[in-house]
């Protein structure tokens, strides 16, 4: 396949409490580079972010249109912790590659469940080799959700294919009680599915199959 550019923001968190701060507010266990989800008290998604531990700072890479909601959610909870937030969205571009490709030293590459996430300085010319339509076809084929289509504020993580990002045994976080109850009772409600076309209420339409969030009986 190839490389597609994402509509993404890059927040930079500094301070010794940054990782534990993100860990305490999101669904996955955050001890370093990983992907996690911020949810509301009713377990609806605020955003899924890739957490990239760069040693002296943490980068949060999320979906552009969800940036303000995420900043509002986390900034009011810093309280007295050693965490500062900067917005490096304007100086970086974010790509996703379906294959492991060579990148220069000043480009960060991270293998996420969606493929290889690439964060590059915005003054670099990174070649885009895949159209959004091709990327959608790849996602349908591999049952990969993205923000804005499957991953939206209307869904909870278990409904849109993000179960692997909801840690089963970590401590409390906002929305945890609801997600734990859904899991323990086996009542996840809707799930992300790949169905042969035509699909009513498809979230992503492919050539032969589509993705949809459907109630499983």
């Amino acid at each position: 396949m190839g490389v597609v550019q994402l509509d993404a923001y890059v927040l930079v968190l500094r301070g010794k409490d940054s990782l534990s701060f993100i860990d305490g507010l999101s669904t996955n266990r955050v001890e370093g580079t990983c992907t996690t989800v911020f949810t509301t008290s009713v377990a609806k998604i605020i955003d899924m972010v890739d957490v990239i531990d760069k040693g002296d700072f943490i980068a949060l890479v999320g979906h552009g249109p969800y940036k303000e909601a995420l900043i509002d959610h986390i900034s009011q909870r810093i309280l007295g912790q050693d965490v500062s937030i900067g917005d490096a969205s304007a100086s970086n571009l974010v790509y996703l590659s379906t294959e492991d490709i060579e990148v220069p030293d000043n480009v960060t590459k991270f293998n996420s469940f969606r493929g290889w996430l690439i964060v590059s300085p915005s003054n670099m010319n990174f070649e885009i080799t895949m159209s959004v339509a091709d990327y959608d076809e790849y996602r349908v084929e591999n049952l990969i959700p993205i923000q804005g289509k499957e991953i939206t504020p209307k869904s909870h993580p278990l409904a849109c294919g993000l179960s692997d990002l909801v840690h089963e045994s970590k401590g409390c976080y906002i929305g945890q009680e609801i997600l734990a109850r859904m899991r323990s009772r086996g009542r996840q409600g809707k799930q992300l599915v790949r169905l042969a076309n035509p699909v009513v209420d498809a979230t992503t339409i492919g050539e032969t199959h589509s993705l949809a969030i459907k109630r499983i009986k």
């Binding site: 305490g24 008290s41 909870r77 007295g80 970086n92 009680e177």
Partner: protein, 126 residues
């Protein structure tokens, strides 16, 4: 990611809540238990803090400390020194510190008029 650009990202403006002068109370039962916990060390203080996290977004954090490097306001209640960090004063104004004496789920409890909701265990609030 270009570290040169990451060194100077645009700072996100965070609206820090106003520091309020905290008014708090401690029930007689909680005073008894604090007396027992402090022992002869009445120069120590009860630090009442709030951490982010928990099922509802904020978690209470009670500690007995000699001192703290946090920017705090000190309240004297019947000889007990109570420290409240200014960063969380807006969440703790008007609280009542109580002690619940039961085998399961017992211990210090905070009744907080600022809390819109609390989780089942009572340690977390929103």
């Amino acid at each position: 990611m270009d570290c040169n650009t990451c060194d100077s990202p645009t700072a996100v403006v965070i609206n820090k809540p106003e520091v309020v002068e905290v008014d708090l109370t401690i029930t007689n039962k909680a005073k008894e238990m604090l007396s027992s916990a402090f022992g002869d060390e009445m120069s120590h203080a009860l630090l009442v803090g709030v951490l982010s996290g928990g099922c509802s977004g904020y978690m209470y954090d009670l500690q007995i400390v000699e001192s703290t490097d946090q920017d705090c306001q000190e309240v004297d209640i019947d000889g007990f020194r109570v420290l409240v960090p200014n960063a969380t004063s807006h969440l703790l104004d008007g609280i009542e510190i109580d002690y619940v004496d039961r085998l399961m789920g017992g211990g210090f409890r905070i009744n907080n008029p600022n809390a819109e909701s609390s989780c089942g265990c009572g340690e977390s609030f929103a």
